[in-house]
């Protein structure tokens, strides 16, 4: 295990998270002594019963929340807050509605934190190409379809060159057809950029089709029930017997 701990890019080490009870209600323990390590370049899917704290786990990795006990680590250093090396992609895209597609992508590049990191215009053009939004640079988010907004959200996150992409049910709000297309798109972007991706989903098929490893979380207070390695060649099809078999096994674990 020691070797793996050293190599992991982000990880949670014996993390417990308890939300203080509001208005006379008892405190809610969301995560209990949870351990998880993600290796550089890996695509890890997290599934679990609804309300089990999947999104909470991502918020910890993003630095929006701090653990009650235990450590949340990026490259072996404790995470103390949000940072450009770990970008979140939200389920409902958190795009800036007053900025056009290209301005949204450029936002992170124009901040003081980014000063001296090359030409904004080149990066924006590269990101537009990467996510296939070339023709929509001047559109506002309200003019884009759901799938396009999600692409833009991914492009804005990737523009600041993070090492880890945290995706919180990024495809859940899309219709079935767009969703399948976006699954392939996320895989393509992952392969092209070689980023580490941690992504939460409630769709077991999606997890098996996309991920290197699938993390199954237990009911609240949640911990890691099992980590399943998906040793199947890509592209994977959902009716492929090996895919279907693994998906069935994982879904039986969730019941």
């Amino acid at each position: 295990m020691g070797d793996e701990v050293r190599r992991q890019i982000v990880g949670l080490d014996n993390v417990t998270l308890t939300f203080p009870g509001r208005a006379r209600r008892a405190p809610v323990e969301v995560l209990r002594r949870l351990d998880l390590g993600v290796l550089p370049g890996e695509l890890v899917a997290i599934i679990g019963p609804s309300g089990c704290g999947k999104s909470t786990l991502l918020s910890l990795l993003a630095g929006y929340l701090a653990p009650s006990s235990g450590r949340v680590l990026f490259q072996e250093e404790p995470i103390t807050g949000p940072g450009r090396e770990r970008m979140m992609v939200f389920q409902q895209p958190a795009l800036f509605p007053w900025l056009t597609t290209e301005q949204n992508i450029a936002y992170g590049l124009k901040l003081r934190a980014n000063r001296g990191n090359g030409l904004v215009r080149d990066s924006v053009a590269a990101m537009l190409r990467l996510v296939g939004l070339d023709g929509f640079a001047r559109h506002y988010p309200s003019d884009l379809s759901g799938g396009m907004r999600q692409r833009l959200e991914i492009a804005r996150a990737l523009a600041v060159n993070p090492q880890v992409l945290l995706m919180d049910e990024p495809l859940a709000a899309l219709d079935a057809l767009t969703r399948r297309h976006m699954q392939r798109e996320v895989l393509r972007i992952w392969e092209e950029t070689q980023k580490t991706i941690v992504f939460v989903t409630h769709d077991i098929d999606e997890a098996v089709i996309m991920a290197d490893r699938v993390v199954i979380m237990a009911r609240r207070p949640s911990f890691v029930l099992e980590v399943a390695k998906v040793d199947l060649p890509r592209p994977r099809l959902r009716d492929d017997p090996a895919v279907a078999k693994l998906a069935r096994r994982l879904s039986s674990l969730l019941e």
Partner: protein, 253 residues
């Protein structure tokens, strides 16, 4: 809207004016109470050429501009601070809620006592009355910004100032704009009323003086000018919104 529709829409007001003109000239309507529109127009011309209208307008609009500017500046800052800083909202919320239901015009006698009958008392009550919609709408606007926008900006590396400038202000702009428009409307109402109650110049005073000297056509001319100001500034606001917020899709009306 197509062009024929636009012309049709002009038809009904023109007919009313024409009937009014005929009725007043033939004595069906008492011309002292309902002077013919043409007489109002002639008087308006007199007001314009004599410079009297310009002087009255200048007095009124100067007061409105000062009071409105104070209301918008303090309203945006206070509303945004109340929405983002707990201490500020604890300090100011009770004050706002206590003062808001009081009609600003009810405070006007006090304002005259404190600031005299000149510009200062008018600017004071305009600033007071017009600041509430700005405060409340700015507050709602800032509070309505999706929390994930702040999170995204933080992850991207934005500083507190960059978040205020890049997220809080544009994110609340649609609401702020609504508040500002309301504030402008209130400013126009308050100035006319205040000038009618106690003043020696301004468009409200001009109308009241005309009424007291039984120059009904001048009363109508004044009302027409006041309406024109409201209409023109509303057009201005619509245009401003398209310029400031091209992304914004208005759902209401």
């Amino acid at each position: 809207m197509t062009r024929p529709g636009w012309i049709l829409r002009l038809l009904s007001p023109l007919c009313v004016l024409l009937l009014w003109e005929l009725a007043s000239r033939t004595g069906v309507l008492n011309p002292l109470l309902f002077p013919a529109p043409s007489r109002t127009l002639v008087d308006l011309w007199v007001l314009i050429t004599s410079g009297y209208l310009a002087k009255a307008l200048y007095a009124s609009l100067f007061r409105v501009a000062c009071g409105f500017a104070i209301a918008v500046a303090t309203g945006v800052v206070l509303g945004a601070a109340m929405a983002r800083i707990r201490l500020v909202s604890d300090l100011f919320d009770p004050l706002v809620e206590l003062l808001r239901p009081i009609s600003a015009l009810a405070l006007y006698p006090l304002a005259i006592l404190w600031f005299g009958i000149g510009d200062a008392s008018k600017i004071f009550i305009i600033a007071l009355a017009a600041s509430f919609p700005v405060i409340l709408n700015t507050f709602a606007g800032v509070r309505n910004i999706d929390a994930n926008l702040f999170r995204a900006a933080r992850s991207l590396g934005a500083s507190d100032f960059e978040i205020f400038k890049g997220i809080v202000l544009p994110g609340s702009l649609p609401h702020i704009f609504t508040g500002v428009r309301l504030a402008w409307g209130i400013s126009l109402i308050v100035i006319i009323a205040a000038e009618m109650v106690g003043s020696t110049e301004g468009i409200g005073y001009m109308v009241l003086e005309a009424q007291q000297t039984f120059r009904t056509e001048r009363v109508f001319a004044g009302i027409f000018v006041i309406g024109l100001i409201g209409f023109a500034t509303d057009l201005g606001f619509r245009h401003l919104r398209r310029v400031l917020m091209p992304w914004y899709r208005e759902t209401e009306n």
